[in-house]
């Protein structure tokens, strides 16, 4: 039987074995020492922003009094009216394709900004739209075929002119996962005034709809 010779090489080998045992035990234990089988992995997220402007916006308004009109698609302001038999609804969406977000990404925060150009004592509510539409073809009659959420994502008061913001994080997060953001239907849920907000075609760029978006992918 050979005697164990405590050379420097063997001492280093002992330390190496101990170090490897340390690393292995440490990794496994993080999953629970009692685990019979395990698979562990880590996914790192990339954060970024992809703010939206009129360049990627599409908007229109539809008129109950003119149920086949598509004139709202080129208007510089979007009318919102709660007047019986003469209601107007506005629609706004953004094309997020330029953000190059995979469907596994998500919104950390998203805030829509619109500018009230004609004020009135109305509360304007935003309802999420989850089916396709385009401003060049959407009419009052066409709204009934859209999929519009029954719960408002947010509201703003149109009692004064100026910028109004609405947090739309959950809607945008869901839209990223669905692949397309179809935006919101804006309609008055209280009040009797006819109000207007600036459209993407508005002559003053700063008045046009915009949206800040922070994401993780």
């Amino acid at each position: 039987m050979r005697r164990f010779r405590p050379t420097r090489v063997r001492l280093v080998a002992s330390i190496l074995v101990g170090s490897l045992a340390f690393a292995g035990v440490g990794y496994a234990a993080s999953l629970g020492l009692a685990s019979k089988q395990l698979h562990a992995w880590r996914q790192t997220l990339i954060k970024g922003t992809c703010n939206q402007t009129s360049t990627t916006a599409d908007d229109t308004y539809v008129q109950q009094a003119l149920p086949t009109s598509t004139a709202g698609g080129t208007a510089t302001t979007l009318t919102i009216s709660p007047v019986a038999a003469a209601q107007d609804y506005a629609f706004i969406r953004f094309n997020l394709s330029g953000c190059s977000l995979p469907t596994s990404a998500g919104a950390d925060s998203a805030v829509l900004t619109v500018r009230v150009t004609t004020a009135g004592a109305d509360t304007i509510s935003l309802f999420p739209v989850t089916s396709s539409w385009t401003s060049s073809t959407l009419t009052w009659n066409g709204v009934s075929s859209l999929t519009v959420g029954s719960t408002a994502t947010g509201t703003f008061s149109a009692s004064t002119t100026g910028n109004k913001t609405v947090t739309v994080t959950a809607d945008v997060d869901a839209a990223i996962k669905a692949g397309t953001l179809w935006g919101w239907e804006l309609r008055a849920t209280s009040g009797t005034a006819i109000v207007a907000i600036a459209a993407a075609e508005n002559g003053t760029a700063a008045n046009r709809p915009s949206m800040t978006l922070s994401y993780a992918k």
């Binding site: 170090s19 340390f22 999953l31 395990l38 997220l45 950390d108 994080t169």
Partner: protein, 128 residues
């Protein structure tokens, strides 16, 4: 002298192993290499599956979905820790992977109030 060196080597090895065991129970996100890449020990998958999270309108995480979990993982426990840029845990939860046909989407809820903006990484594990 030789005996002393031999004993020292063995003692040092034992000490390193015991330190490993002792620290293992508290090993968390702060260990930078935890879960980097993938390491399977006869598990149901060796792939690093993709996780995605949903948020409420306040930007808080409501659930984490792990996509395309192999059917063979049904019955295993999926544990997820949400970490921030300092490798600190912001919330953790787990769920048992259900049965399904083909690739499953496993959903884990119950992370508490965690702002998605602060989450920079998911640490995930599947255990039986």
């Amino acid at each position: 002298m030789k005996r002393l060196t031999r004993i020292s080597g063995i003692a040092l090895t034992a000490a390193l192993v015991s330190v490993g065991v002792a620290s293992a129970a508290s090993l968390g996100l702060a260990s930078g290499k935890l879960g980097a890449g993938s390491a399977a020990v006869s598990g149901c998958t060796s792939s690093s599956l993709t996780a995605t999270r949903n948020v409420d309108n306040s930007g808080n995480v409501t659930k984490v979905n792990v996509l395309s979990v192999p059917q063979a993982c049904a019955g295993q426990t999926l544990a997820i820790t949400l970490g921030n840029s300092s490798n600190t845990s912001l919330g953790a939860s787990s769920a048992v992977v259900g049965t399904c046909t083909g690739g499953c989407t496993a959903t884990v809820t119950g992370f508490g109030t965690v702002s998605a903006a602060n989450v920079t990484a998911y640490s995930l594990s599947l255990t039986q």
